[in-house]
Symmetry: C2
Subunit: 500 residues, 2 copies
């Protein structure tokens, strides 16, 4: 059963859902099958529809009605929670003076444009003034959040991407990551064995990769009546509605595993959407699921399932049948290759172990940005120093350093930390799951539904009615503890690399 609202509110939600579905469909279409020459026109049309939606959503008379309605709802009910979350979001928009919003949008457009230019030309100086301007305008914009109290600016950013999070909690989390993983990775580099994974960068025909993807999708029990798989440049998942998830992948001839693990990752997002309780459909309790929460599910599938030996044990025969090249490799060596760790400069190419340090670096830098303490002239050097200090590698250019990610140029301050936190949530959830069901056995025997059902019953069904920190605590019986994460990584990689 859906949540129960007054008809006027129900109709309002449905109207918003209609515009959002149109936009999501057009977005998905654009990044998968749309011919490129039509995109400028489509973007212009999407902007018109966004403007229409904005006017409907922020209609002052409607907001007044919603405010009155809010007071009639029982405190603590899910309905009240939805309306409260919505009023908070609408409040931010309403509080922002038109010129502040306009300046923010302009700064974001400029920063996006010059980031592209600067990255291409490998020239941070070109981007710098626009980054500074955008950060100032983002901060100005964020100050109108109802959650801003005068001295918690970065908290407001962090909370926007993962409700309930703040700087203090992230500090505690990253402190463990840094203390435990920086020395561990150094030790692994010094003492670990060498794993040859050159097999994975041989060239494999894309049509064959597509056929093997069908095998993997069937193994994962992906329901084709609710999930479709498309191809795109940078894989994403789009949530069209409770029964309509779009996942995308990208096939590279010479990165055979990239498409598979990326699809497993995206399916983790989709599965979360599919298994949320349908009663939240179309409400903030569905939409406002945090990024760390979402990332915990995609990384759960990618790292704890897709990179596991049991997963490949189940699919090895079919792999060898379709790619006889892998017969000589053997299962154990294949799984080792899939889990190779090697400190690098590029976040999106990082392995499971070094990934959180890429995030740590960004977190430490953006804290200073949010608090207005960053010396932007020094940013590339600060960046390079941290890479050298934490990962033992130093970027030689801006493009492979501070210019590599789109996030800051898009005004996404506070987003990066969710990536690492999501992995850590996943590790604690996995630890609990493995005490309750025999995960490896289920994977080996092709009973993926045991795992997805567990996730549904213990995690997914809540949607955004609880934060992932709350869910982790309910599921595991203790508060979130990042040691589950670092212990899991250290244990896994000690074994893999033969450390004592």
């Amino acid at each position: 059963m859906r949540l129960q609202f007054e008809p006027f509110y129900e109709e309002y939600l449905k109207k918003l859902a209609a515009y959002n579905l149109a936009s999501a469909t057009m977005y998905t279409d654009q990044w998968t099958v749309a011919p490129s020459a039509g995109i400028p026109h489509a973007n212009e049309m999407m902007a018109i529809l966004a403007q229409e939606l904005f006017q409907i959503e922020n209609d002052p008379a409607m907001i007044e009605k919603i405010e009155a309605y809010h007071k009639t709802l029982p405190e603590g009910s899910l309905e009240q929670k939805e309306v409260k979350m919505r009023l908070d979001d609408l409040g931010h928009t309403r509080n922002v003076p038109a010129d502040v919003y306009r300046d923010f949008v302009k700064a974001r457009n400029d920063a996006g444009y010059y980031w592209h230019q600067a990255k291409e030309k490998n020239d941070y100086a070109l981007f710098k003034p626009y980054l500074v301007d955008l950060m100032n305008k983002s901060i100005e914009y964020m100050k109108y959040s109802p959650k801003y109290t005068g001295d918690n600016l970065y908290d407001v950013f962090l909370d926007a991407y993962e409700p309930g999070m703040n700087e203090e909690k992230y500090d505690a989390f990253f402190d463990v990551v840094k203390t435990e993983l920086v020395p561990f990775i150094a030790k692994l580099r010094a003492e670990g064995r060498t794993i040859d994974d050159s097999m994975l960068s041989k060239s494999f025909d894309i049509e064959r990769q597509e056929r093997f993807m069908d095998t993997i999708m069937r193994y994962l029990r992906v329901d084709p009546t609710r999930v479709s798989l498309g191809t795109t440049e940078h894989p994403f998942t789009n949530f069209l509605s409770h029964n309509d998830m779009r996942i995308t992948t990208h096939y590279y001839p010479d990165r055979f595993l990239s498409a598979i693990l990326s699809t497993v990752h995206e399916y983790g997002h989709a599965l979360y959407g599919l298994q949320m309780d349908e009663m939240f459909e179309g409400t903030k309790l569905n939409e406002n699921v945090g990024s760390a929460a979402h990332e915990s599910q995609s990384r759960f599938l990618e790292n704890h399932i897709g990179r596991s030996k049991a997963f490949w044990q189940a699919n090895y025969d079919e792999l060898v049948k379709q790619f006889p090249e892998f017969e000589a490799v053997g299962l154990d060596a294949l799984v080792d290759m899939i889990n190779v760790s090697e400190p690098g400069l590029i976040r999106t190419e990082a392995d499971e172990l070094t990934y959180p340090l890429h995030i740590l670096i960004r977190y430490e830098l953006e804290k200073d940005m949010a608090e207005g303490k960053m010396d932007y002239d020094q940013l590339p050097t600060l960046w390079a120093d941290k890479y050298e200090q934490y990962l033992g590698v130093r970027p030689q250019t801006d493009s492979e350093g501070v210019l590599q990610d789109v996030h800051w140029s898009d005004g996404y301050l506070g987003y990066f930390p969710t990536y690492a936190l999501g992995s850590a949530y996943a590790a604690q959830l996995y630890h609990t799951m493995a005490k309750q069901i025999d995960v490896d056995k289920a994977l080996r025997e092709g009973r993926m539904e045991e795992i997805t059902n567990w996730l549904k019953d213990n995690v997914h069904h809540y949607a955004g009615s609880k934060t992932m920190a709350e869910i982790v605590e309910i599921v595991s019986g203790e508060p979130f503890d990042p040691h589950y994460y670092v212990d899991y990584l250290k244990d896994k990689y000690s074994k893999l690399y033969g450390l004592k």
Copy 2:
């Protein structure tokens, strides 16, 4: 350069275009890649957006403004033509009383539902009352058209699908079709040789068919930055914008040529859209292109290009390379197979020669429907009698007879005739083109652009600023004459079947 309108009107057109693009994208998505379980929700959302669009489009204050604006535009200008066409369409909607419209929509929904049931159960009696009701309600609805004068009901239907057409003109056209083709087909059956085309119903792997489709698309010079090809159940083309055409196809393992000819057909529609003058984008002069006009272009490509010997000559080597099974067939025999004619019961499976007689039958029947003279109890018998009389075959069931098409159950009275008229326009255009350029040589030598450029310069660029009858007259220097069509068919099939 686009047409020049007052800013208020420009903005109005853009807003309509935005909603229409959303709807077209969602439609295309739904029939190509959308997972099925999400469709009911998507339909509900699309209905909400359609309602939003309806209110914007038919806003009385806006229409008043447009009416005043119309009076200021120079008579005969393209701008005035656009505004006039729009006011005519809006006028019809405004004239229709709410209850008449509601009853029409309900009758259409019911008829659609019961047609499906009846077709499945092979039971016309189940459909009959809903068909009768829908026809009554359609007629009632059409009477509010500004073009209805009191005694031209079927004309209004016919004009709605092909502007400028009426019963008198169609009568003259179908009279030639009937007089010339009915005896010719009988003669061909009696005296023609037998052509064995069983090769075409052998089973061919769909992946191989897809690869060969790439060959054909390249040969046709399909621009992938402006046209995408998807797969669907019943192929269609959707016109998203000037630079964004979506064509679709359906691969059957045992109907190798079906996907190819259907793609060539759909590309004919897309090419028309691509080559219309961009200044008409977003106006009625683009949208109101008639169905016969459109069908003339799809059938031009399908019949005059895709079924020609020169086309297959150019692609034969590649065909044999990808499908060695065709080597033993030989080019001439292949082209013969592609053009086999055999009277049958099902319109959508009909060949080029017998196709117009399927349409003639429907035309004769729906004239009586539109004029309220149909005895619906007798409809299946009338249908069967005409099939026997014109094609020498008689349906044994309702499903392979009167229930086969969706059109009437959708209220599409007056649509069928455009299919045959389109073919006839195509024949006269082809006749003219072949006098001006060496079509076969261009096809043999892989210069498809010569043909598409000719179509652009002589036909496509006008969009809906002229009717296809006007265009045919301009291009060929004489009024439309159906003898070009029947002569072409008789000549082609006399040769193919060795008639004297």
